[in-house]
Symmetry: C2
Subunit: 208 residues, 2 copies
Amino acid sequence: MAMKLNERGLLVVISGPSGVGKGTVRKALFDRENHNLEYSVSMTTRPPRIGETDGIDYFFVSKKQFEQRIKNEKLLEYAEFVGNYYGTPIDYVEERLDKGKEVVLEIEVQGAMQVRERMPDAVFIFIAPPSRQALRDRITKRATEPERIINKRMQKAEREFGMAHKYDYIVVNDTVENAADRIMAIIRAEHAKTERSIHKYMKILEVE
Amino acid sequence: MAMKLNERGLLVVISGPSGVGKGTVRKALFDRENHNLEYSVSMTTRPPRIGETDGIDYFFVSKKQFEQRIKNEKLLEYAEFVGNYYGTPIDYVEERLDKGKEVVLEIEVQGAMQVRERMPDAVFIFIAPPSRQALRDRITKRATEPERIINKRMQKAEREFGMAHKYDYIVVNDTVENAADRIMAIIRAEHAKTERSIHKYMKILEVE
């Protein structure tokens, strides 16, 4: 494969504690005009629900296919949840990056740490709540489950809080638009980073 | 002095080869609305010209005063040029940073390397021309001097070209507005960087 030093996009990992509003921020990003983002479609072994389309909502595969991918290291990250696998297919991501797209992954903290190992040059963004109380309110408001489940979820969020230092950036979700602005600025700045742009710059220096 | 972990501004060093348009980009930044930037006023031993105001155009000081500052390490960087000193007073910069301002230095490559040693957590931005020819055109167009001087200036620019890898970011000055946009994005992203924002984040985590 030929080296494509300039055109390759960034892998942008948006993560953070459960209930912080990762999905809302991600949607706000994609609602913007003139972006060059592409959402990474996950792969799952759970059966499609009514209205879900293969390749758009998820890539729907069999358990055998998924386990083959695990074995062949064809997943950037994966997890098992209530008997089903969920993961990010590496070939899909690589193809989009090579096309110059900024590929956005919106994943849980555990998954982000797996991606870090496979793709160290990805950009890792931790979405943080404006306060611990704000996150508590969000989890409580959203939940239709009994208090025991809510407490469990809050405990999970508390553990995930402690992972912020493993990320490149911390983006406070004070308002969704502010958070989206910050992420767009991060993507723009990352492209200008010397270690990413020096090859392009060396081409400028070549005698015409 | 009390630690002010959150409010402190960034020191933003805008530099690059002679003739690349650093000054124009810097002016475009300051023309923007709602910025929090402050331009660092240089100190010089050259006498004020008509219309120049002390503390606005330069801090005008005596040679003795300047050399005392060199001795006491009260300058972020300095150089001698045609018998006069030019430099950046460190106390002025620190005071503005503590007030939460983003202090912008627009300086030559040699000066930027001096700042790097004194303030390693500053943000170093190398302004690059869109092509070597573009820089040649700029230097030629601007110059009212004989060809020998122009060639000398071009040679200096060529040497300065090679310093890009010592900067944090390379911002191509394809258009002034694009370059200014990129710098604003860099400032915003730098504030979200984990190593700069983790202390603020830790405060969020404190129980209210």
